[in-house]
Symmetry: C2
Subunit: 335 residues, 2 copies
């Protein structure tokens, strides 16, 4: 085990790949290695990238990774696919495109598919990201399909979240449809050579202005709450981050340097405002609470005989016990 850890810290790709599989399969070895690697984490810039299919998300991630490589940064890409068997084909295509990057030793790509619940996927993604962080990658790009809860979970995981739009996908802004506009730290209009880019930008700006009198704050649980802005608090000294809108054409690399600059500015903003630490703490706290909940449930199931548990469930099915009453009865059996 110690040798695995050392290999990972030394940048051994095969050891890294094997450990990622163990982490994904939630093996005891995987968990042990995660614990041993934990002290080495906390250095990588975690960057979430999300957007609807058709926005050119994967190409953008590729180009952004290549740009970071020019500064000799080591980049990991975690492509998370919470989708159904129906969409498997399309996403596989994206992964094939990513092989452009596969010859480069400073880039490591890992695709992850949903195995059980989406909640489980978010937890496993967090662990995979921790492995990359410990392994010394400077940036971890976490790419997801833009649809709701999984993106919110990823916003909680990432320091910086990019939400990608593209012109010509219909009258509406896809990110608004999916309810993910408010997780954006940076808005990207990709395919900016297409007609309709001005109206997409106008729509995004008006959404941002609509949000202007509101302030989003992170509390120690890592949730964002929207509060009224204190008056006179929007001078230049304000710690408020207004998401910039970057225009890119991923296929030819236009706008990628400006996007990279915006990402670096956001990282600096997070460090200055103290939000870097706040987001990290919120993430670690939530991760710990999830683990705690799992272990409490495990202990409970060990303490209460399987048969007794199923008898109580059967009484619920017969409507002779409500779930609330059943839980109190089960808890007494544990003591």
């Amino acid at each position: 085990m110690t040798s695995t850890i050392q290999s990972i810290l030394d940048g051994n790709r095969l050891a890294l790949s094997r450990l990622l599989t163990q982490v994904e399969n939630n093996t005891p070895e995987g968990r042990e290695a995660l614990a041993a690697l934990f002290p080495y984490t906390g250095h990588a810039h975690l960057i979430g990238v999300t957007g609807a299919p058709g926005t050119g998300k994967s190409s953008l991630v590729n180009q952004f990774a290549l740009h970071l490589r020019k500064d000799d940064k080591r980049v990991a890409i975690v492509a998370v696919d919470p989708s159904s068997p129906f969409t498997g084909g399309a996403v596989l295509g994206d992964r094939v495109r990513m092989r452009d990057l596969a010859g480069d030793n400073g880039i490591f790509i890992r695709s992850m598919a949903a195995r059980g619940s989406l909640g489980g996927l978010a937890a496993t993604t967090a662990q995979v990201v921790q492995v990359f962080d410990a392994a010394g990658f400077d940036a971890v790009l976490i790419e997801t399909v833009g649809a709701g809860q999984s993106e919110v979970d990823i916003a909680r995981l990432a320091h910086t979240t990019l939400v990608i739009e593209a012109p010509g996908l219909g009258d509406e802004i896809q990110a608004i449809k999916a309810g993910i506009l408010e997780i954006a730290d940076i808005l990207v209009i990709n395919k900016a050579d297409r007609p309709g880019v001005e109206s997409t930008e106008r729509a995004l700006r008006s959404m941002l202005e609509l949000a202007h009198p509101l302030r989003q704050v992170w509390n120690h649980h890592g949730r964002r709450y929207v509060v009224d802005a204190p008056p006179g608090n929007d001078g230049s000294d304000s710690p408020l981050w207004v998401p910039p809108i970057c225009k890119t054409i991923a296929t030819d690399g236009s706008g990628i340097p400006e996007l990279a600059e915006a990402v670096a500015r956001h990282a600096a903003h997070l460090r200055q405002s103290g939000d870097w630490v706040n987001r990290e703490r919120a993430r670690l706290r939530s991760e710990t609470e999830t683990l705690l909940q799992e272990r409490l449930m495990q202990n409970f199931r060990q303490d209460v005989p399987e048969q007794a548990y199923h008898q109580v469930l059967e009484q619920i099915f017969q409507r002779r016990l409500s779930p609330w009453e059943a839980v109190e009865i089960l808890l007494k059996r544990q003591k």
Copy 2:
């Protein structure tokens, strides 16, 4: 409290409305009433309705409810909005439209907005639905915006799930984009008087054919697993349900009777195949486990002093303890 329960069972709308507020606010009175009402549940047909904005979902729900009223069925509508402050306006508009139905005593409409986590919203929705079920509503229509995890949660709640599409929303099928096509028991193409309805129908049919060699089964956790079909198992005796495609024009009511018929056929299929009971049991089991997890965490937080808990968290923040080690230390403190 007993008088509240009796009022609800007697169909008192004011008592119902008050109890729903208590359930939404998770008050002790609300929980007590839920437990007391539980034996009266299990009769309503729970019908989930989901689809992207622009598909005319709310109008369809209205028309469907009016149709059920003709058979003198009592109908509850639970409109769940997991969206951000950005989309508040549009959804409010939908709710205003729903007032068409408000004069009818056999219809009860309840709008629910996300207050904390989406997970919490799903749990609260389940409880609100239970109240309507106990109050003797024959059908409970649960309407949600089509975006990912919240819809999957609702599929687990509903007996029958309708996924709504509309022509002309772009080249792609919205339900595929959002990864919710596979939760459909019935596919509805609304706005079927618009151009493009044939190509939408073709696209949906080819997705269904793609899924044809696969079988989705529910296990006792209520999750769907995709398994290979046993050979020779697609004769007419097969218990397999292939989602029908219904075409409707909600604004003038076209196709609504046929949709209602498909919904009734699905209910009959569920009862015949035993899936009605399976889905109910999966739902009750998952609800019980969620409650159990919450109570285990509550007990834990009561047993372990706040200060000790925060000291351990602090050590995680300092990277001196991994979350895994921290959890083991905390669990020992409880014993």
